[in-house]
């Protein structure tokens, strides 16, 4: 049973394993080893028997192959209605066949299943809204990813990502000290412009515990500063935890079920330890999905809820504008046409459509909806981990055409995108197709138009 040095069935749990993978630029050796990786079919079948529950079994059996899901999938539309891109075909030819063959599949099958699970589905869950039976291929592909991960058939970047979570409880190599130091540093850099600015760490019983995406700490710390400034202006009693601050989950994208559980438990432990009234997560879609929607089940919480009530950043912004905690200077509202990218993970999966519209009504004078929009919106084109997988860049570029055309049809040159994944996908879309657009999170836009109370202004 050949197991590679880098590509194997063992998850990454040590810094040494992680460094070996990182040193293999673009996973060249990793993917060569994958070509020889055996499938442990008895173990695969045992996992399926143990974990394939009645809902998924029923879905696989009752799918009528009616094709109603076809037009719901942006990959199908972007690939000239290629029949092999029909969601039901994609799941039946992978998970369906794997189950029907009782796990007796070979290396070539696993390669096909991996390429399909990560480059032909972003787990956006749109198909589930159009299937007459409510079959959700996104849910099934997430499950299939777990089976593939257990056998070592997972894209190189996501093996690294899940390993990061296991080692650092963050998707990047950011330690507790790194994180706390970065918070202090952001305070230092911005307090001149924002007197009294604080970045409270581990404050018990705060009204809000704020959690983030590790990339903000590692590569984009200004995002942290902007969040702190807006909480400061709104007069919030808030804090961040020194541990359990990372809400994202590349482990979820990788199908690393053990890693998923470890990650969310660190966030829940911070909630239990600091006892805040509620949790607010940064402008990230999958972080919210992982920690607020899926996480309680991974952690085995019987309530199906996070230990304290949890909110996406757009919910906090909508509330702050509605209650007047943040006030917009009418003269500074966005005048140009502007559109909004609905993130699958908190609009479709958590019903936050109206929060987004409410925010736009405060900040924009010419808001233009994409069509379709809200819970019917198409995935940005980079969800489910696809943004970060080099092996599938070409397929991603093709898929991005759907979002490109949606944006172009609005006539807007500015896209508000309160989700890191969507933000990246739209940036890459512009890099490839040059349609002349700009994109932004909410925080920098709000900072340009919010009225600063007199007592918080810097002295002249």
């Amino acid at each position: 049973m050949p197991e590679g040095i880098l590509c194997n069935k063992t998850p990454v749990d040590t810094v040494e394993q992680l460094q070996a993978l990182l040193a293999d630029k673009s996973g060249k050796q990793y993917y060569e080893e994958m070509k020889l990786l055996d499938v442990d079919t008895p173990a695969l079948w045992a996992t399926i028997q143990k974990s394939l529950k009645s809902r998924l079994r029923t879905w696989l059996e009752i799918c009528a192959r009616c094709g109603m899901c076809a037009d719901s999938c942006f990959f199908y539309l972007a690939n000239d209605r290629d029949p092999t891109q029909v969601p039901s075909y994609k799941i039946q030819s992978t998970l369906g066949d794997m189950v029907r063959r009782k796990g007796k599949v070979d290396n070539a099958f696993m390669h096909y299943a991996m390429d399909t699970a990560w480059s032909r589905c972003t787990c956006c869950n749109r198909c589930g809204m159009y299937c007459p039976f409510g079959i959700d291929m996104g849910v099934m592909f997430s499950y299939l990813r777990g089976l593939l991960f257990s056998q070592g058939f997972v894209p190189w970047e996501l093996k690294i990502g899940s390993g990061m979570h296991r080692i650092y409880r963050a998707q990047m190599d950011v330690t507790t000290d790194d994180w706390v130091e970065t918070c202090g540093w952001m305070c230092e850099e911005y307090e001149e412009d924002w007197p009294g600015l604080e970045f409270p760490v581990d404050k018990p019983n705060a009204d809000i515990i704020y959690t983030v995406n590790a990339r903000e700490v590692k590569h984009y710390p200004e995002d942290l500063a902007e969040a702190a400034i807006l909480f400061h202006l709104a007069g919030e009693n808030w804090t961040v935890p020194s541990e359990g601050w990372e809400e994202t989950s590349l482990a979820m994208f990788a199908g690393d079920w053990v890693g998923c559980k470890k990650q969310v438990e660190s966030v829940y432990a911070a909630m239990e330890r600091l006892k805040p009234k509620r949790m607010v997560v940064t402008e990230c879609g999958h972080a919210y999905r992982a920690t607020v929607i899926e996480g309680p089940y991974w952690a085995g919480l019987k309530t199906g809820q996070t230990p304290v009530e949890s909110f996406h950043y757009v919910e906090w912004v909508a509330e702050a504008l509605r209650t007047g905690k943040l006030k917009i200077d009418p003269a500074k509202r966005i005048k140009e046409p502007v559109t909004y990218q609905d993130s699958c993970n908190y609009i479709r999966n958590a019903g936050l459509r109206e929060c987004a519209r409410e925010i736009m009504s405060y900040i924009a004078e010419d808001f233009r909806e994409m069509r379709p929009c809200g819970e019917h919106n198409f995935c940005c084109g980079g969800g489910g981990g696809l943004n970060g997988i080099g092996r599938y860049r070409e397929q991603r570029n093709v898929g991005l055409k759907v979002k490109r055309d949606q944006i172009l049809a609005t006539g807007a040159k500015l896209v508000v995108s309160p989700c890191h994944n969507c933000w990246d996908a739209i940036r890459d879309l512009e890099e490839i197709y040059h349609i002349g657009i700009r994109w932004s999170f909410l925080k920098p836009l709000l900072l340009k138009m919010v009225i600063v109370p007199e007592h918080l202004r810097p002295e002249e």
């Binding site: 460094q19 990182l22 040193a23 630029k25 673009s26 970047e157 690294i160 990502g161 990061m164 998707q171 990047m172 190599d173 950011v174 790194d178 130091e181 970065t182 540093w185 952001m186 850099e189 995406n213 590790a214 990339r215 700490v217 590692k218 590569h219 984009y220 710390p221 200004e222 994202t248 590349l250 943004n387 970060g388 080099g390 092996r391 860049r393 070409e394 890191h420 994944n421 990246d424």
Partner: protein, 105 residues
């Protein structure tokens, strides 16, 4: 693997346009990325950032946090963005010949 030609040199790049092998980095690569990133003129501060990134990568096999970059160079965050408008994680790493950082970047 795609290649790019610049100033008589040929570079293999990955699917995101990052240099394929850290060891193939050269002054011509820096000039190539400079044009791509819309940077008018490279000064000693750009060079300092590149030097720090490369030193850190050689030692640790991964790009540093912005905090580390700021501490070692003594540059404020805003200034790093003035030097590399597409950000330290993307433009600066690309110019320094580091691989594209993994994860959500």
């Amino acid at each position: 693997m795609p290649t790019v030609e610049f100033s008589g040199k040929s570079f293999s790049v990955d699917e995101d346009g990052f240099i394929d092998d850290y060891k193939n980095w050269s002054e011509e690569w820096v000039q190539y990325v400079k044009a791509q990133e819309g940077i008018d003129e490279l000064n000693d501060e750009h060079k300092k950032v590149i030097e720090v990134l490369r030193e850190y990568y050689e030692k640790n096999g991964i790009a540093p946090m912005v905090r580390v970059l700021s501490k070692v160079t003594g540059f404020k965050l805003k200034h790093i963005y003035e030097l590399f408008p597409s950000g330290p994680g993307k433009g600066a790493c690309k110019m320094a010949g580091l691989p594209k950082p993994t994860g959500c970047v």
